[in-house]
Amino acid sequence: MQTSRDLTVSSDLDNLPFVLEFVRLCCLEAGLDDDATFACELATDEACTNIVEHAYQGREGGKIYVRCQCTPEEFIVELHDNGAPFNPAQVAPPQLVGDLADREAGGLGLHLMRSLMDEVRFEFDGQNGNTVTMIKRL
C-alpha cells in the first residue's frame, strides 16, 4: 500500500461499517494475514465506539479521522477526534473472572484493543483533541 491512507467520517455509529471496510482494505493491501486483519478491525471498532460514545457523547456532528499507515515493520491505525478528553486511566478494567452475576459490561472494549494490538497509545491535546494510535507489528 501507499505509506498512508486517510478516511474521514462523521461521528455516527452507522458509519462504522465503512470505517471497518476501509481498515480491512488497507490491511489487505499491506499484506496482513487474516488474524492480523481481524485484530485491526476489531480494535478499530472498539476505538470508534469509544469516540462516538465517550468523546462525542453520542453527538453526531463531530468528525472521526482515520489514518492507516504501513511501514516495513508495522501496520498503524490512528484515530483522531475533536471530542471531550478521553482518559483511559479512568476506565475501570473489566472483570475477567467470576460468576455471571458479578460481571459488569464496561471496560471490555479497551481491554480487547490492548489485547489484540501490540501497542495502543492515547494522547490528548487541548487544541487538537484525542488521538489513539494502535500498532500491529509485522
Binding site: C48, V97, L100, A105, L108, H111
Partner: protein, 111 residues
C-alpha cells in the same frame, strides 16, 4: 448482518450471519428482547456458524441476555463458533459463562 429466528419445541434458535459490529449489536439485542421479553421464552441457541465478526458490543448483549434468562431458569447455548470467535470470548474472559457446542443439534438437544 442477517438474523434468522426459528422457534422449536424446547428452545429458540437465532442464526447470525455476517458481521456484528457495534452499529449492528442493537439489532441482536432487539431480537433477544423479542424472544425473552415478549415471547417469554428463555432457552436460546445462538448459531454462530456464519458469524464473521463481532465486537464487545455483541458480547455485552450476550452477557445481559444470559443474566436475564438465567434468572428465569433458562440458558443460552452457543453453537458452531469459529476458532477466531472463541478466541475473542477467551480474551474477554467470558468463555466460562457460556456452553459451547460443535453443532446446533447438540446445542438444542442439551436443553
Amino acid at each position: 448482518m442477517i438474523l434468522t429466528h426459528e422457534v422449536l419445541k424446547r428452545c429458540d434458535v437465532i442464526k447470525i450471519k455476517g458481521r456484528v459490529d457495534s452499529s449492528k449489536a442493537p439489532e441482536v439485542e432487539a431480537k433477544f428482547q423479542e424472544i425473552i421479553g415478549e415471547a417469554k421464552r428463555y432457552n436460546i441457541v445462538v448459531d454462530m456458524s456464519e458469524l464473521e465478526f463481532a465486537s464487545s458490543a455483541f458480547l455485552r448483549v450476550l452477557i445481559a441476555a444470559m443474566k436475564t434468562v438465567r434468572g428465569k431458569g433458562g440458558g443460552i447455548h452457543l453453537a458452531t463458533a469459529s476458532d477466531r470467535m472463541k478466541d475473542v470470548f477467551q480474551l474477554a474472559g467470558i468463555t466460562s459463562l457460556f456452553k459451547f457446542y460443535d453443532t446446533v443439534t447438540q446445542a438444542v438437544g442439551d436443553f
